[in-house]
Symmetry: C2
Subunit: 115 residues, 2 copies
DNA sequence: TCACTGTATCCGCATAAGCAAATATTGCAA
DNA sequence: TTGCAATATTTGCTTATGCGGATACAGTGA
């Protein structure tokens, strides 16, 4: 019961929905990538990621100093369904399109080796 | 964007999840039916129903003094998917089973003509 | 019209959640 | 080990949300 409401609560914030849209589009990204796309301070992004991690909606993996986040690959039916719904909502979202555009531009200019 | 987060926010409360489970099981019910099953005061139940109505997750219909609530029949893909997810979560929920049991007992004793 | 019942909304309060700066932690390299 | 960069967590503040009693509104019947 608490798990389910926690799951929905973690999706009831626009920033967290945006993070999932961005990860669905961009695959694996580190915190500073997300900071650039979301245009939000580090502590804010990190806290939202912790929220999503606790709900089982993202996986994290440390690579040196960088923490990379991505959507989980092996999930139960409920989370899979929910991620499908979120993807559906992103299809005709202006915000999702803007974030995808900003991510593409950011990745194009990003130099190798930097975060 | 706001619509989506509002949708998830309306599902981030245990009482509202319970209401949807109860309606999935019991069909069309009025506010006092739900008060009996949820064991919550009228103002609380009504407010949660308003939340769900605004999110498009329940339909209401007045019949005399009574307001009947049920799940919407014709919904878009997103709401249909979300209701399916909620149903899925109810399958192995002890709370859902308890509420179903209480609803059955309540309907058995309820006299015709009373709310 | 008036009284009554069922439901919706308002109000004040308590709790929860978001924000961003500050601080702590982690891992790498010198 | 020391210093630095990336990230996580803490802190203090502000805002949002839930609660239930009180009140307002709507429909029915006398």
């Amino acid at each position: 019961m608490k798990t389910i409401t926690q799951l929905f609560k973690s999706l009831s914030d626009p920033t967290r929905i945006r993070i999932i849209w961005i990860l669905q589009f961009g695959g694996e990204l580190c915190v500073c990538d997300l900071m650039a796309v979301l245009e939000l301070p580090q502590s804010t992004v990190s806290r939202h990621l912790a929220y999503l991690r606790n709900a089982g909606l993202v996986d994290d993996q440390r690579k040196g100093v960088w923490m990379y986040y991505r959507l989980p690959e092996h999930v139960n039916d409920i989370i899979a369904e929910i991620l499908a719904v979120v993807r559906l909502t992103g299809k005709d979202s202006e915000q999702a399109a803007m974030d995808q555009h900003r991510l593409k531009a950011y990745l194009r200019e990003k130099r190798a080796g930097t975060c």
